[in-house]
């Protein structure tokens, strides 16, 4: 049966600096997200959710899923470095495969939305080239990206990664508190993206304007 689907990707930094409070805060929030999205018929039937984690490697922890039928969401484990290049490349490949599969199944696919969460500065490598490939206007599947930085994240890099809006922790909350606010804004965004119809009654990414504990930074024009 053909459906109209808005895919969400949470791409989460799990480098060693996330150990302790930050990773615990994310792991506590994922079951809440699972519960809130999965029990809301308006949202659950139209959104799909995927979890990608990265440090010096990147992996799909939860493939693009209907949260109303998955039994649980995997948790993150902190270790290693911060390599954006592998994250963006995996995201590119995953979105390509997911959209191709959804289209092959006859679904109407809306532009994917990415929540990108990081606490550090990326390893110096070719991540900018990988990012440009992911957000190339000529690539039909390029996602909308909301970027969240906390801890030591460089606000200029957050601004560079975001295509819609960036958010940088302003220090008013500890890392765990900031990540709880992040998780809440993620849930709110998914819910309102699924429920607030756009121009043709379909869906598009509904971005938070402000997130408590974070400073909003405009996205660089891609």
């Amino acid at each position: 049966m053909s459906q109209q689907i808005l895919p969400f990707y949470l791409v989460c930094d799990e480098s060693s600096s996330m150990m302790g409070g930050p990773i615990d805060a994310i792991n506590k929030s994922l079951p809440v997200l699972h519960q809130e999205i999965g029990s809301n018929p308006v949202v659950a039937d139209k959104t799909r959710f995927a979890l990608i984690s990265f440090n010096h490697q990147a992996q799909v922890l939860l493939p693009l899923s209907d949260l109303s039928i998955v039994s649980s969401v995997p948790s993150l484990t902190a270790s290693g470095g911060t390599d954006y290049e592998v994250a963006f490349n995996l995201l590119y490949d995953t979105i390509s495969q997911d959209v191709a599969k959804l289209k092959a199944d006859g679904h109407q696919v809306l532009r994917p939305a990415v929540f990108f969460l990081t606490d550090g500065q990326p390893n110096p490598n070719n991540w900018v080239a990988a990012y440009q490939r992911l957000t190339d206007p000529a690539w039909g599947l390029r996602p909308n990206i909301l970027a969240f930085g906390f801890g030591e994240a460089d606000s200029a890099i957050i601004q560079q990664v975001a295509t819609v809006l960036g958010f940088v922790a302003d220090g008013s909350l500890g890392p765990a508190g900031a990540l709880q606010e992040f998780a809440q804004s993620l849930i709110q965004s998914i819910v309102s993206s699924g429920t607030s119809a756009d121009a043709n009654g379909g869906m598009s990414l509904s971005a938070p304007e402000k997130v408590s504990g974070f400073r909003t930074v405009p996205a660089d024009v891609v």
Binding site: M1, S2, Q3, Q4, I5, S39, P41, V42, A44, D45, K46, S68, V99, K103, G106, Q108, V109, L110, R111, G140, L141, T195, S196, A197, D198, A199, N200, G201, G202, M203, S204
Partner: protein
């Protein structure tokens, strides 16, 4: 759900009852997901409304007590309602109407309308989408049916559907206003709109009428003290001659935005103009809308034959119809004779398809 025959007797088709209605042992608006289907289709498959036998006397739903008398006679089974078809296993709580909208001039959950003319039959329904039902917010689609005096002889059917743009707070008023103002402004344009000899004249009349409606909307919006965009709506209009006894009948259809016009002929729907969503990898959700962004006015001529049906609809129907199951089911329902009754038409339009929670409005005109 479990089908149970209400009386003993000859074997009947699994979905056809003596009075044209299926019997069930419980009132079903939603199947219980925890219960295995026993003798009918599982969730996610389509169920067929049984064909009706016009003129057949309704039979009592309670079985007559047979001779020989069992000690405990069967308890009376009230006639029950068969839920509309479901596709793709929607969420078990999809479409629960969880509240009455708390806004001024909220539209009722649904409107059903229609008429059996001597040479045509028209049915229309505008249904609140499952998303609006669940959130307790109002239907934003509107529709209208009227007959007008034909410029030369007889009458003309005027039908319209309008889809209030989902993100705008007063678009339910906008769609209703667009339909009402169309009716108020249409008559001076009818002769040109029905002029089969001059396509350019028809197109120009359509554009002028749409712009006139947009102008009137902007004027009325001043009374609201609000930004015209808050009333944004699509509008699709069909004019069909009621005069001709011999098929085919002269039709003219035009519209603004992503609502659609289709012709059902020879067992297939054909779009009367190009689908503006396109076939790209990512669905495009932008649309032109009255009163602020009229954009291009799509127009189409059609000759409605005796076996044809002309459909104008909002994307709450057009989007799920991209799925073959839904499309094929509607082809069967709307190609068969007799034309569905008013409530039957609304029932047919009430199918539930996973992820499609938008308001759904359609007007169908059959050439018979």
């Amino acid at each position: 759900m479990i089908l149970r025959r209400s009386e003993p007797g000859p074997e009947q088709d699994a979905t056809t009852d003596h009075d044209g209605r299926p019997d069930h042992d419980e009132p079903i608006s939603r199947p219980d997901p925890g219960v295995e289907p026993v003798s009918t289709q599982a969730l996610g498959t389509q169920t067929e409304i049984p064909p009706r036998e016009r003129g057949a006397e309704p039979q009592p739903a309670v079985a007559a007590e047979p001779v020989g008398v069992p000690e405990e006679p069967p308890s009376p089974q009230p006639p029950v309602f068969q839920a509309p078809p479901e596709y793709g296993k929607p969420h078990e709580r999809a479409g629960k109407p969880r509240g009455i909208p708390e806004i001024g001039r909220a539209a009722p959950d649904m409107v059903v309308d229609g008429a059996d003319f001597r040479t045509l039959t028209v049915r229309g329904a505008s249904l609140r989408g499952d998303d609006h039902r669940y959130s307790g917010t109002t239907r934003q689609d509107s529709m209208g049916l009227w007959t007008l005096r034909h410029p030369w002889e007889g009458e003309v059917l005027l039908a319209c559907v309008a889809d209030g743009v989902g993100s705008q707070p007063l678009s339910h008023r906008g769609s209703e206003l667009a339909c009402r103002l169309l009716r108020a402004e249409v008559e001076p344009y009818v002769a040109d709109l029905l002029d089969v000899g001059e396509r350019s004249r028809r197109d120009e009349a359509a554009r002028q009428l749409i712009e006139r409606v947009a102008l009137r909307m902007r004027g009325d919006i001043q009374d609201f003290g609000t930004d015209p965009r808050t009333l944004s709506t699509t509008l699709v209009v069909a004019l069909v001659e009621l005069t001709s006894v011999e098929a085919p009948r002269n039709c003219f259809v035009f519209g603004v935005g992503d609502s659609t016009a289709l012709l059902l002929r020879d067992g297939a729907f054909r779009g009367l103009w190009t689908d503006k969503h396109g076939d790209g990898a990512i669905s495009d959700s932008r649309t032109d809308a009255l009163p602020g962004h009229v954009g291009s006015v799509a127009t189409a001529e059609a000759r409605l034959g005796g076996d044809d049906a002309l459909v104008i609809c909002t994307d709450g129907l057009a989007n799920p119809m991209r799925g073959e199951e839904v499309e094929e089911h509607l082809v069967r329902q709307w190609s068969s004779r007799p034309v569905p009754g008013l409530l039957e038409f609304a029932w047919q339009l009430s199918f539930r398809a996973k992820s499609y929670g938008d308001d759904r409005t359609a007007v169908c005109v059959w050439g018979r």
